[in-house]
């Protein structure tokens, strides 16, 4: 503990880990809430029309991407800081803070877009229940929300790349 306080290099690393944790935790939370909304609506559809399971599953999987984006950013952070290989690089506190901030776009955008995309997907399940041919439309409507998670991921990834 003393070493962490006195050694600024380790403070940087700790911040970087916090960034990775933030990215994966928030985007994962958003995705799981979103997927659960879509899953609940989907279960209702499947109860009536079991043959639509495949389509409903795809709609349910759409809000799961945010969690993956968060995981990817966390993975990149852990890889570039050498934590993954067990040989962490020395980071100044400023560098560590930079990496911490890198985790925020994907974490927050993922959290909110995950939830709201789940709602759109849930509504899409209703569309598919009425007319299975509308699957493509339901997917596109849901993907509109995902755009902002994609952009968040993009910015997070670009910041992480800049430290490598």
């Amino acid at each position: 503990m003393d070493e962490v306080v006195t050694n600024p290099g380790l403070w940087g690393l700790a911040l970087a880990v916090a960034g990775a944790a933030f990215a994966v935790a928030f985007s994962g939370a958003g995705s799981s809430i979103g997927v659960s909304y879509a899953g609940q609506a989907g279960a209702g559809v499947v109860a009536e029309k079991p043959e639509l399971f495949g389509k409903v599953l795809i709609l349910e999987a759409l809000p799961a991407t945010q969690g993956i984006y968060g995981f990817l950013v966390a993975f990149l952070i852990l890889m570039f800081t050498g934590i993954l290989s067990g040989d962490p690089i020395a980071l100044t506190t400023a560098d560590g803070a930079k990496i911490f901030f890198a985790g925020i776009p994907v974490g927050l955008a993922g959290y909110f877009s995950g939830i709201y995309q789940g709602k759109v997907s849930a509504a899409g399940c209703g569309m598919v229940a009425k007319n299975p041919g509308d699957m493509g439309k339901a997917m596109v409507l849901s993907a509109m929300v995902e755009t902002y998670a994609v952009l968040g991921f993009l910015v997070s990834a670009l910041v992480v790349f800049s430290i490598a």
Partner: protein, 683 residues
């Protein structure tokens, strides 16, 4: 390759020829019947006749039998059977041969009685179970159940008491009177089942105690035997039911062999009903029938000649559509463009006076798909899978488009992946030698760098790169971002240009020049200016470019307020028109997703490879675990990103591209044809 031109026609035929003509129209599937509209004098609308109702009844019966028996159908195994599902493949003659002489009524009757019996048996089982549950706790009573529960002076009661209240309840009862006898108590789970005998005089007091403790008074069914006997009888009955159910199931499985015939017959009569249902849109006089409908312009002559073979008593005339009536829309794309129509179909159809976007979106869609996936090995896998599905399985024609599309997409992804150096996210050092080469510096010498080897020593290593690789998305994401935005700009510009050309050719030339050309010019100049600034075009052009750019902006301000009356309002909405630039900017920025999606694929792959590398260090089972991780991980990656690439590439077409030149919302062309649920004719 376009929106097929449509013509509304009217067809007048003799009453006597009506059935023949309708059968003919349905077979050809060329005419979409439209509502007759206002009736002329002496005409009346046709109603459904008795035969139509009979057909409806038949279809309902056949549908019942099909639904009932398909629960017992022995499904064939394998991919092909899964694809075929319930469909039956044959030609019309075979179909008629089966359906015409098939005495389905007998089969339907049997199905009905079987279903009745099955339902009854199921209900009986349920009621037996509930009786069993009721009787079980009272097995110790040895008298017949229909023995009267009261004598002249005393009454017998059966109660179930929660265990926790039992002792208190008993105390209160005993305290009531000596004229109460409590039978043997039986404890099951946390309830006490007990018989109480009491004098009739104190019955009210007893029931009062029962009510205060919320004790349940049990009414035992009045059966003949003792409880033990009755329980035994029920078990035997259950066994009998089981045997009977087995028999019924067997018969149903046996009957399900008739399903093919039933399904074919269903479609056969359903087609006849479809012929009948359209008659509500006809007008009739005593001897003639008037039909109005939409037909492709090309088919009019064909229809005339073909109809001659059926009858000579008909008149076909081209007529004008009703006010506010839009022609239905049919898109026809041939050859390599055909699969791309499944992308357009997701969005919906253009209006009849708009252009078919399919050929234009095709190249962009497939290119963006490749860029969003960017992995050569994934692309090759997709191509191989889709190719073998088409080659070795018989896919119904209507589903072939999407599979073919994914096959092309796999091929393009392969090339995109090779350009990006994406080979299942391997580093050049992990990849097989034939994919990589040594990096050379400007003078042709091999470049080396220092790395730590396994023993921890620093050694010199030759730098390797992938052959064909032109871009590295992870090392220089900015160049990929610029490429993505550039492609986006091109697509948006093409959209605006297409809009101008289409309006210029097909609508007012003047207004196309005023409304749409300034945007074409301004966007072109912006592209030109960016090229100058980026150093692609010589710097010396900047002065001229600047002036041309300003001219473009002035052009927008002068033209976009055209519809306003007041000169000041004209100017204001002209200036506001410039705000449209923000829209174009955000459209172009939206293409940055191509970089993000491409990165996502390669980073997930990287994560999978790294995890596999970690588990491979585990002694003994490491290699096997690593292989499992690699296979599952990469399959997951392909699955999720192939889907993501499709949706996002599609979205770029629908939201960023289509909106530049298309309103959409056309009604699909739905001719009277043989719409079948099961039969696939000449597929």
């Amino acid at each position: 390759m376009a929106v097929v031109p449509m013509q509304k026609i009217s067809l007048l035929v003799h009453q006597a020829d009506k059935p023949k003509v309708l059968a003919f129209l349905q077979e050809k599937g060329v005419l979409q019947i439209a509502d007759i509209g206002e009736l002329a004098e002496g005409m009346s609308k046709l109603e459904l006749d008795k035969e139509s109702h009979e057909l409806e009844f038949r279809i309902a019966e056949l549908d019942f039998a099909v639904q009932f028996l398909s629960k017992y159908e022995q499904k064939k195994k394998g991919m092909q059977a899964m694809i075929d599902g319930d469909s039956v493949k044959l030609n019309y003659e075979e179909m008629e041969g089966i359906a015409k002489d098939y005495q389905y009524e007998d089969m339907v009757g049997r199905c009905k009685s079987m279903e009745d019996e099955m339902v009854n048996l199921k209900n009986e089982i349920k009621s037996i179970h509930s009786v069993q549950e009721k009787l079980m706790p009272w097995r110790h009573l040895k008298y017949a159940l229909n023995t009267s529960s009261e004598s002249e002076s005393s009454v017998s009661l059966h109660v179930s008491v929660p265990l926790k209240d039992w002792s208190l309840f008993k105390e209160e009862l005993v305290a009531l009177s000596k004229m109460i006898a409590i039978g043997k108590e039986k404890v099951i789970e946390n309830k006490v089942y007990v018989q109480i005998l009491c004098e009739k005089e104190i019955l009210n007091q007893v029931t009062g105690v029962i009510a205060t403790f919320k004790v349940e008074l049990v009414e035992l069914p009045l059966l003949k035997g003792t409880i033990e006997e009755e329980l035994e009888r029920l078990v035997t009955r259950l066994e009998q039911i089981g045997v009977r159910q087995g028999q019924l199931n067997k018969v149903a499985v046996d009957f399900s062999k008739e399903l093919k015939k039933l399904r074919v017959t269903y479609d056969y009569y359903n087609w006849r009903l479809q012929q009948k249902l359209v008659r509500r849109d006809f007008a009739s006089t005593e001897s003639t029938i008037l039909i109005k409908g939409w037909i492709t312009k090309k088919s009019i002559e064909v229809l005339k000649t073909d109809l001659q073979d059926i009858t000579s008593r008909f008149v076909i005339e081209e007529i004008n559509p009703e006010e506010g009536e839009n022609a239905p829309v049919l898109l026809v794309n041939k050859g390599i463009m055909k699969p791309f129509q499944s992308v357009t179909d997701i969005y919906g159809l253009p209006l009849p006076n708009e252009l078919d976007p399919t050929p234009y979106l095709a190249i962009f869609f497939i290119m963006f798909y490749g860029l969003a996936l960017t992995d050569a090995i994934y692309g090759l896998l997709m191509f191989a899978i889709m190719f073998s599905v088409l080659r070795f399985l018989k896919i119904p024609k209507q589903s072939q488009g999407l599979i073919r599309l994914l096959m092309y997409a796999g091929l393009i992804t392969f090339f995109a992946g090779a350009l990006y150096g994406g080979w299942a996210s391997m580093t050049p050092y992990q990849a097989p030698g034939f994919l990589t080469k040594s990096l050379l510096d400007g003078t042709g010498n091999v470049v080396t760098h220092m790395v730590k080897n396994d023993a921890g020593e620093t050694v010199k290593e030759i730098v390797k790169v992938f052959k064909f690789q032109k871009i590295d998305a992870i090392k220089s994401p900015l160049s990929v971002l610029i490429l993505s935005l550039l492609l986006g700009f091109i697509q948006v510009f093409v959209g605006v240009l297409m809009n101008f050309i289409w309006k210029f050719k097909h609508e007012s030339k003047k207004y196309a020049l005023i409304d749409h050309f300034p945007w074409v010019y301004l966007l072109f100049m912006i592209g030109f200016a960016v090229a100058v600034k980026a150093g692609i075009l010589p710097e010396s052009l900047w002065g001229t470019t600047k002036i041309l750019l300003y001219i473009g902006m002035v052009g927008i301000v002068l033209t976009q307020g055209r519809e306003k009356k007041n000169i000041i309002l004209k100017f204001i909405s002209g200036v506001l028109g410039l705000y449209g630039l923000v829209g174009y900017l955000s459209d172009v920025l939206s293409y940055s997703r191509l970089l993000a999606l491409g990165l996502a694929t390669s980073i997930i792959g990287l994560a999978v490879n790294t995890i596999a590398g970690m588990v491979s260090d585990i002694p003994f089972v490491g290699i096997i675990l690593a292989i499992i991780v690699l296979i599952v991980g990469h399959m997951f990656n392909i699955g999720i990103n192939a889907l993501g690439a499709f949706i996002h590439s599609g979205r770029l077409q629908f939201v960023e591209f289509f909106t530049k030149f298309m309103e959409g919302g056309g009604q699909a062309f739905k001719p009277l044809k043989r719409d079948s649920k099961y039969v696939r004719l000449n597929d």
